[in-house]
């Protein structure tokens, strides 16, 4: 049985590159290094990859002469597709080999046994739709705070909470906690569910599907396998959920914040970056809030030192507090508004970073909140 189709080079390269990202670096079984190519007689090419945890599947248009299925090394196919000239690509299987021709280039790849390839998990039923750009922004805002320490898998995930038309995303690595709420279109108005998705997977999804107008989110929980699925633009991906009980992090946001300062976001980012140049690894920047001014300092003793002042307004008592500069920059960089509000209780308690539209706005924007733990100084 031969398979034969022709497809545009760019179409194929995009699709293969995306699917190949889901392939495991060290496949637990050899066939999982493969990328499954299915050509159907409706002129559609289905490409899929799977590593038991994450699956990716994409549909593209092709001129299919002989429909059928083939499995080839995904890495190799991706590298070949990236380097092909901009001409139509012809693919023909011949026994245990696949011939790929593009202009004057010709490649022959070995096939892998299709019947040993596992079945991809079925896409759960659609739970709701979210705008692509909103999803991309929200995922970027929370994944900065997710832990990279694999010894505690729960904290490497992003917690999703669905309550009617409100979708909340949150992540923490113990040092900071990011929480974003957004409005979406649930498929049923009373939707209520929770899920824990690996931050890395979610970031990949946002990158691949975020350019779509709308992304469909599908959740199956309570069944034998707990899955989350995303679909947009002919691309779909599923992922197993991270196991375990997520800590109750909402309560970590302080109830009343007595002191707050408002500062122009970009000026503060630039000042922190400059001052942090002298901060060695793991050493903090110190921020002193007085009326009209934030003074930033880093470095101490016989080491290099830096200081800078930024204009700001202050409501409440003067305060001095120190942060890991990277954690501070992560939070400030995630804001989408031109002004930043920094709210405190005291120097050893967490501070809250939110955005606000103008310097003298009455309220901040509470759809995104970044909670950051300070650094306690020895002195």
């Amino acid at each position: 049985m031969t398979v034969k189709f022709r497809v545009e080079r760019d179409t194929l390269a995009d699709a293969v590159t995306w699917v190949a990202r889901a392939l495991p670096n060290r496949p637990p079984v050899p066939v999982l290094a493969g990328l499954l190519i299915e050509a159907d007689d409706n002129g559609t090419l289905h490409l899929s990859g799977f590593d038991y945890e994450v699956s990716a599947k994409v549909e593209v248009n092709a001129e299919v002469s002989d429909p059928g299925t083939a499995l080839v090394s995904g890495r190799l196919l991706a590298e070949i597709c990236r380097s092909l000239p901009g001409k139509p690509v012809d693919v023909v299987t011949d026994g245990t080999k696949v011939a790929l021709t593009c202009g004057a280039s010709r490649f022959t790849l070995l096939t892998m046994p299709v019947d040993e390839y596992p079945t991809l998990p079925a896409m759960p039923e659609n739970t709701g739709m979210v705008a692509g750009d909103v999803l991309t922004e929200a995922v970027g805002q929370v994944t900065v705070a997710a832990s990279r320490d694999e010894t505690l898998p729960i904290l490497t995930g992003v917690r999703l909470e669905i309550e009617g038309d409100t979708l909340t995303l949150m992540a923490t690595d113990r040092y900071r906690l990011a929480m974003r709420t957004l409005t979406w279109r649930p498929s049923s108005p009373g939707a209520s569910s929770i899920a824990l998705v690996r931050a890395r997977t979610l970031a990949e999804v946002a990158k691949a599907l975020g350019s779509a107008d709308e992304v469909s989110l599908a959740l199956s929980t309570g069944g034998a396998t707990e899955l989350i699925g995303f679909t947009a633009n002919g691309r779909r991906t599923t992922s197993l959920l991270v196991d375990g009980d997520y800590p109750k992090v909402r309560a970590l946001f302080p109830e009343s914040l007595l002191t707050h300062a408002v500062v122009e976001t970009q000026s503060l980012i630039e000042a922190v970056r400059r001052v942090a140049l002298v901060a060695e690894r793991n050493t903090p920047v110190r921020l002193t809030f007085t009326d009209g001014l934030i003074t930033l300092e880093a470095g101490q003793g016989e080491d290099a030192q830096a200081s800078e002042a930024v204009e700001s307004s202050l409501v409440g008592d003067e305060l001095s507090i120190a942060f890991n500069p990277q954690y501070l920059l992560d939070g400030l960089g995630a804001l989408s508004l031109p002004f930043t509000r920094l709210s405190f209780t005291q120097a050893t308690k967490p501070a809250v970073i939110t955005g606000q539209a103008s310097a003298d706005a009455e309220d901040d924007d509470d759809t995104y909140r970044y909670l950051i733990m300070p650094v306690r100084l020895a002195g």
Binding site: R174, Y175, L252, N282, A378
Partner: protein, 419 residues
């Protein structure tokens, strides 16, 4: 500074015994032994008067008594040793920050940066010896040379209560006639083996070609001893700021490892190590415990943490876990231990602690957790009180108030090592 004699080795003379004679004037000018008794036990240290009769540390009590019938046995005053030795180290620090303490009562100093302030090394040494005598009442011997090894030999030759400076052009004349046993690492067995080949002096050893020494003693040892005999010793004085680890150890004869004993000793060692780390704003990620069994066999266990620690209580708990791991699988009733050592390595600067949100599982060993930060703050307060009112002003219970029933002072010996 290869060309000048600027390495100083300072070594308190018969330290434990000298302290006892200082504390009790009735013991002065008399042969005394610290530890042991006429019926048995182990002598930890002997006064010069007792040494004159052949009494040595490590000897059994009855043997010492036979050698010196007028010998007086006294119990040790461990806390006083610590206090006075720390006082001596403080005096040494007054002439240079380049002080490497290698045990409770000896240290190396690099004087190359101090001569323009205080004068020639010989002048500095005289000043230090006078100050230690006047301020602490203790005799101290000092050797000065171009290398650490030679400085240490010089201080041994200077004993008791003397000063020997070996100028670079006098090195061979000084070293050649000395017995090989003064070379670092030559114990009785090696000494005998060398003697069998007619190598008795350091000069003999230096003149023997390296390959021949290696054949006699094995490659590693042979190369090292031959180099030392030729005064080829590139090691520098390493101060705790540059140190790669900080450690403390305690030897206590032969004891069965009862939980109380282990906790008390480790608590004390952890406190020494952790407070020295904090004094330098340092913390370490790797904790190592060495347990020596009575048969001289040692077992080492270590753990590497995700964040560096310098907290006394955390270090105590980790050291205790590691000690029980090391003891695990042994017949506890049978296994007697003779030494415990705690070391922290993988060091980094720690001027501050990144606090953590209270997210379970809470782990007090992580410095930023709620409990970890509380411990950190507590240690800082304890350090501040001790700086103002002295080391014994406040401390952790098992370390500060040892139950003498479980560890009599006379069984305790503390050696410190910072390298």
């Amino acid at each position: 500074m290869v060309g000048r004699a600027t390495i100083l080795h300072a070594d308190l003379d018969a330290f434990y015994a000298s302290v006892e004679q200082l504390l009790d004037p009735a013991l002065r000018c008399r042969p005394i032994a610290v530890g042991g008794s006429a019926d048995g036990g182990v002598v930890l240290a002997a006064s010069y008067e007792a040494k004159a009769h052949g009494v040595r540390g490590g000897m059994s009590g009855w043997q010492a008594k036979r050698l010196c019938p007028t010998l007086r046995f006294v119990r040790g005053h461990f806390a006083e040793y610590q206090r006075l030795a720390d006082g001596v180290m403080a005096v040494l620090h007054d002439v240079t920050p380049e002080v490497q303490r290698i045990s409770i009562d000896e240290a190396f100093l690099d004087l190359s940066g101090s001569t323009h302030l205080f004068g020639e090394p010989r002048v500095i040494a005289a000043l230090l010896r006078r100050r230690v005598r006047e301020e602490l009442g203790l005799p101290i011997s000092v050797g000065i040379a171009r290398t650490k090894h030679l400085a240490k030999i010089a201080s041994q030759v200077a004993k008791p209560d003397g000063l020997v400076v070996v100028e670079p052009d006098e090195e061979r004349r000084f070293l050649d006639p000395l017995p090989v046993s003064l070379v670092w690492g030559v114990g009785p067995v090696t000494e005998q083996r060398l003697a069998d080949w007619g190598i008795r002096t350091i000069g003999d050893l230096a003149r023997t070609p390296a390959p021949e020494v290696e054949r006699l003693l094995g490659h590693a040892v042979g190369t090292r001893l031959n180099a030392l005999a030729r005064n080829d010793d590139p090691r520098r004085v390493v101060t705790p700021d540059r140190a790669r680890s900080v450690s403390a150890q305690s030897a206590f004869g032969r004891r069965s490892p009862a939980p109380d004993l282990v906790r008390e000793v480790l608590s004390h060692l952890a406190d020494r190590v952790a407070s020295r780390l904090r004094a330098k704003n340092r913390a370490g990620r790797t904790v190592t415990v060495t347990v020596r069994f009575s048969g001289m066999r040692s077992v080492t266990r270590s753990v590497t943490l995700s964040a560096p620690i310098a907290t006394t209580l955390t270090l105590t708990e980790l050291a205790e876990q590691l000690t029980w791991q090391a003891l695990d699988g042994r017949d506890r009733a049978d296994a007697e231990i003779s030494l415990l050592a705690v070391s922290v390595s993988n060091l980094s600067h720690q001027h501050a602690v990144q606090l953590e949100l209270p997210i379970p599982p809470e782990d007090p060993h992580r410095p930023g957790s709620t409990q970890g930060a509380a411990r950190w703050a507590l240690d800082r307060s304890v350090d501040a009180v001790c700086r103002r009112f002295g080391r014994r002003a406040v401390g952790y219970l098992p370390a500060a108030m040892p139950r003498t029933a479980s560890v009599p002072d006379e069984f305790r010996e503390l050696a410190e090592h910072e390298l």
